[in-house]
């Protein structure tokens, strides 16, 4: 069934969108990522204009994250205090990101920036996570393997310490705020919630226990992407609500299924799967930049409007 999207001004198959939403929703629930880093390139691929894809994706992530976070609330695996601290940084980052996005759109380099961001972040994050979880998996196989020790590094030497009861942490608020800013910028520029960078940052930089990471990540993603949606809707007019509804109907159902699958998998297995997926997307985007494109020319609306 074809459906015409009022803002994107293209006609697409409604079932295709539902299916995409469902698939990405499952991943979202399993890993605590919004799934935007997969969905946004997929939307480009089916012919949605990049500006609309980025803005609408932010709105869709609100829905799938909200669906996922409720399940985590019931299991009490959300560190609300940590989420709010991350959030404070996230709002600053999102506002900065939209400014950068609009500036680069006029220069015609927005595609490049978005793709480079993807390649660099996905590559680094995916690589680190893959190596680390492979090691952890090998250790846990050994009988009576050493318990995972929490690192005490530079993070613990900073001032403004705060107690995060749910995570069992007593650390400075500076690293969470910095992580929040970085993720906020990414959310605005890449049309992603930033979960794929937030989750590893929480585990490796902040040292949060894996079981609260997913719920907390989803919790703060809702707020950042909600803010991003509003910014894009009021400055660029690029949020397509029909597209968002189709994606999120599939997405919220998928997220529920994914959250349940996630509880049956071990943390290391979960992380290694996420790492492989992140690296795959990174590899595909990296190749696109290196291989000569079929069409060297691209069209843009003049006047940056």
């Amino acid at each position: 069934m074809q459906i015409y999207l009022p803002i994107a001004e293209v006609s697409v198959n409604a079932f295709l969108l539902l299916g995409l939403g469902g698939m990405v929703g499952i991943l979202s629930g399993m890993f605590g990522v919004g799934g935007g880093f997969l969905m946004t390139p997929l939307l480009f691929f089916i012919g949605i204009p990049p500006a609309v894809a980025v803005a609408t994706e932010a709105n869709q992530i609100v829905a799938s994250s909200f669906s996922g976070v409720l399940a985590h609330f019931r299991r009490r695996t959300v560190d609300i205090k940590m989420g709010l601290v991350l959030q404070a940084g996230g709002l600053i980052g999102a506002a900065l990101g939209v400014v950068v996005f609009n500036h680069l759109k006029q220069l015609g380099q927005v595609d490049l920036l978005v793709k480079l961001c993807y390649v660099v972040f996905l590559g680094v994050v995916g690589g680190l996570m893959f190596v680390e979880s492979l090691n952890a998996l090998r250790k846990s196989r050994k009988p009576g393997g050493a318990p995972v020790r929490r690192q005490r590094g530079w993070v613990h030497a900073l001032p403004f310490k705060m107690r995060f009861r749910t995570s069992g942490l007593y650390i400075s608020v500076i690293p969470p705020i910095m992580v929040g800013v970085a993720v906020g910028i990414l959310a605005a520029i890449m049309g992603v919630g930033g979960g794929f960078i937030m989750v590893p940052a929480m585990i490796y930089i902040l040292g949060m226990p894996t079981k609260v990471v997913v719920g907390t990540s989803l919790f703060q993603i809702i707020l950042v992407t909600g803010f991003t949606t509003m910014l894009h809707a009021t400055t660029n007019y690029t949020v397509d609500i029909v597209l968002a509804v189709l994606l999120l109907v599939g997405g919220v159902i998928g997220a529920q299924i994914g959250t349940r699958i996630g509880t049956y998998l071990k943390a290391e297995q979960l992380r290694i799967l996420l790492a492989i997926m992140v690296l795959a997307v990174c590899g595909k985007l990296g190749l696109d930049l290196l291989i000569m494109p079929d069409e060297l020319f691209s069209l843009g609306v003049a006047g940056g409007h």
């Binding site: 069934m1 074809q2 459906i3 015409y4 009022p6 803002i7 001004e9 293209v10 006609s11 012919g47 709105n59 869709q60 609100v62 829905a63 799938s64 994250s65 909200f66 669906s67 996922g68 409720l70 399940a71 019931r74 015609g108 380099q109 595609d111 490049l112 909600g226 949606t229 509003m230 809707a233 009021t234 007019y237 949020v239 609500i241 029909v242 968002a244 509804v245 999120l248 109907v249 919220v252 159902i253 997220a255 529920q256 930049l289 290196l290 291989i291 000569m292 494109p293 069409e295 060297l296 020319f297 691209s298 069209l299 843009g300 609306v301 003049a302 006047g303």
Partner: protein
């Protein structure tokens, strides 16, 4: 002399009027629809363009009558960018502003394009796709500006927005003609100018112009207008829908599990 002048003028005018009427072939046009409504399930449209040639005199026995039909969407400036390999990766480098390019352009002719319309007439009436695009806003440092204009045509052709369809207008006894113009699903709103040109031996003998109105209706119209006029409300509405959908799915699954 005073009496002669009006008489002279009279005969002069009479003669021109007569000769004009003599050679005059006019288009009487019909369209299967003069407005296209973009609804939620809009999946492209086919417009039937048909008509007849009205003439007071017998069919001239010069070159046979040929018909050219063009449909052109609203024009707007377009920035064309070209990628170049820099530091090992492909990035946008040069850009050219094409002053005006139609969002949609279709040309249907009754014969091979070159046979139906001479090059000078094409230039005068801007019939072919290449001529319908106005460029030359190129910066001085870009020598191959034509490549950029060609790129617009090529990219939009691939998207089904530009098309040249020779020999798709059927002409019956040099009087009746008809063709169907396919309009793809990715149309933009606006007035689509529809032109019919009658030619003989490559020369245009008559033109006719009308408009097809393409606009969103119903829900599509409402959402589009809301997003432009009340962006804040639109944004809030998007978020509320997102949160409700998320909550709804979560609650539904909770119910399923408890059962």
């Amino acid at each position: 002399m005073r009496r002669l002048l009006p008489l002279l003028l009279c005969t002069l005018f009479g003669a021109t009027a007569l000769s004009a009427a003599d050679a005059r072939e006019e288009v009487v046009l019909g369209l299967s629809q003069n407005r296209v409504a973009i609804t939620a399930d809009f999946d492209g449209s086919e417009i039937l363009v048909f008509g007849a040639v009205k003439r007071e005199t017998p069919i001239p026995d010069s070159a046979p009558l040929e018909v050219v039909v063009t449909v052109s969407g609203p024009s707007s400036p377009v920035t064309v960018r070209r990628k170049e390999k820099k530091l090992g990766i492909w990035v946008n480098a040069d850009s050219v502003l094409v002053d005006s390019a139609p969002s949609f352009y279709a040309v249907a002719t009754s014969g091979p394009f070159d046979a139906v319309l001479s090059d000078t007439e094409d230039l005068r009436h801007r019939v072919s796709v290449e001529r319908a695009i106005r460029s030359v806003g190129a910066a001085m440092n870009i020598r191959d500006a034509q490549e950029f204009a060609d790129a617009v045509v090529r990219i939009r052709q691939d998207e089904g927005l530009y098309s040249l369809r020779p020999e798709t207008v059927s002409v019956d006894q040099q009087t009746l003609f008809r063709t169907a113009i396919d309009m793809p699903a990715n149309l933009t709103e606006g007035a689509y100018t529809t032109r019919v040109l009658l030619t003989r031996g490559g020369e245009v003998v008559s033109t006719y112009e009308t408009e097809i109105d393409v606009r969103k209706v119903g829900l599509e119209r409402f959402l589009y207008a809301l997003s432009r006029e009340q962006p804040f409300i639109y944004g809030i509405m998007s978020l509320v829908i997102a949160v409700l959908a998320g909550w709804g799915a979560s609650a539904a699954f909770q119910l399923l599990r408890e059962r």
